[in-house]
Symmetry: C2
């Protein structure tokens, strides 16, 4: 792990991302239950999706936010980073189901329900969801009252972001907009689309960065700044996702490009056109950097992660 | 709430159950998110299943276990009782899905996915799941280091019971036995059926009682005794469920009797016959009482709840 006060270059960021990804993957393998503690099929199904080559954006934000606050507390943030990735993975498994987005390919591989059936896929998602909270409560192991208080705050933060007032609520609106909630269809204008994304992807991305800051002992002003930063990173992430769906390379995306347009999903390019969408993403990036500067977080890796989110090609 | 040291009669138990149910329902309504914090559809869907007339066995066990340890700490156990009921409800919603048990009727009403569609049903379950852990972390609100330590232990206990090594794992084995996990079918003998039930229903029932004891500040010996008691209550509950499916009154069950036999599920009556199944339930009841007596828990309502679980007709 790099020190937060290092001068940040593209190389430093790349090294941070690579090293942090390896560390997160190693810990995820250690945290996931195995037989005989659980049935083999569920252990296998959970790992199939957890180790499917994800970008690990959320754990990177958790670790970088913790390091920005206090590098010496990064160990405390690692289980939190992993727990949030478990929640993100469970949400992808459930979103891919025929009853939801009906995706058969993710990151270039058949989705979990294609391989194990819908029932086991639902259960693998549920298992990862429970495991995430068990992990947040269990690690870091500590008798320190302050650490325990932070752990409880992180569980509330992550739970709120994952639940009906966050990710689940956003996906529900998405289903309503797609006509998949019988008797409850809605049509979304631009504001409603932004609100849907703020819930569906924004809330957990914000919780990722905020949780890292909490575990590292940030004060409320710093937490608020990192929250604002992550809100814009989350929005930028979604806009860029929508742009890549229009013009991205299917081979590097690992999924079918053009799927959003084909399913008449309300995307940023559909609402604003490609050029204006690129401008909106650039606006997010500028605001994200401004939030960090205002709080005096000028030499962390958070700024570089925001740049990477907008510049990525897959 | 009744005092744990009252002499326990059938009337006392009935009064406790009625009053505790009303209290749990009132708190559940308060804890569940509403618009504008979350989309209306998900708030409605969650309430549809949470207030579907459940027996509230798990919250009763939580409250009775807490009262058995220290009546003055019952307020601390109420949010825990509610959180566990949210997890139980989410599991019923997911189990009823076409991809799992494909049940269209529960407690005399159409199941959630019949009313809202499979997608919203999956999300309502996911929302309740997240909400349960948020609630466990949030309430009881306290700055006391001991209370916070207990809250974290309860989250671990409930998370382990709900996850791959508990409820989710048991349901996965059930799907394998029912041939609903392509390429992973298994045949269960009597021991494997018992193991499946220990995971699928037993783990969360044990966690319900144990969590109440933890929140009330029980010592490790008492926690172990209440765990042993609840293990037998959970097994008895499952055996009686299977018996009622064979000979119960469909009107009072609120579901189709004989469904287990029709789907060739491995049940206790199918494995052992009705008479032997009744004997096995009675054995569980005797062991449950013995566990309480050994730990000196002789005047609590826990014994009466065990009697009720075995004597119930629906």
């Amino acid at each position: 792990m790099l020190n937060a006060v290092d001068v940040v270059t593209a190389d430093t960021l790349a090294a941070f991302l690579e090293r942090a990804r390896a560390q997160v993957d190693e810990q995820l393998e250690r945290y996931l239950p195995s037989p005989p503690a659980c049935p083999a099929i569920i252990a296998e199904a959970m790992r199939y999706s957890v180790f499917a080559g994800g970008k690990r954006l959320r754990p990177m934000l958790t670790l970088a936010a913790a390091a920005a606050v206090d590098e010496s507390h990064r160990d405390r943030a690692l289980p939190v980073a992993c727990a949030i990735e478990l929640i993100h993975t469970y949400s992808l498994i459930h979103d891919d189901l025929p009853a939801m987005d009906d995706d058969t390919l993710r990151r270039g591989r058949p989705t979990l329900h294609v391989v194990y059936g819908d029932g086991i896929a639902i259960l693998a998602g549920d298992g990862l969801h429970a495991e995430a909270f068990t992990l947040l409560a269990r690690e870091p192991v500590s008798d320190d009252a302050g650490v325990n208080r932070r752990k409880l705050r992180v569980i509330r933060t992550v739970g709120d972001a994952a639940g009906a007032a966050g990710m689940v609520g956003g996906q529900a609106i998405d289903l309503q907009a797609a006509g998949q909630a019988p008797g409850h269809a809605v049509t979304l204008d631009a504001d409603a689309v932004r609100h849907m994304h703020a819930l569906k992807t924004g809330a957990l991305i914000r919780a990722s960065a905020v949780s890292g800051a909490i575990m590292a002992g940030a004060d409320e002003t710093t937490i608020a700044a990192i929250d604002a930063y992550a809100g814009d990173v989350g929005l930028a992430f979604q806009i860029v996702d929508d742009i890549l769906d229009v013009e991205g390379d299917p081979a590097s995306l690992g999924k079918t490009a053009g799927k959003d347009a084909a399913s008449a999903k309300p995307t940023y390019p559909a609402l604003f056109g490609l050029d204006r969408s690129r401008t909106l993403a650039a606006d997010c990036l500028r605001r994200a950097h401004a939030a960090l500067e205002t709080a005096g977080i000028t030499k962390s890796l958070l700024g570089g992660i925001a740049d990477w989110v907008v510049a990525r090609k897959s």
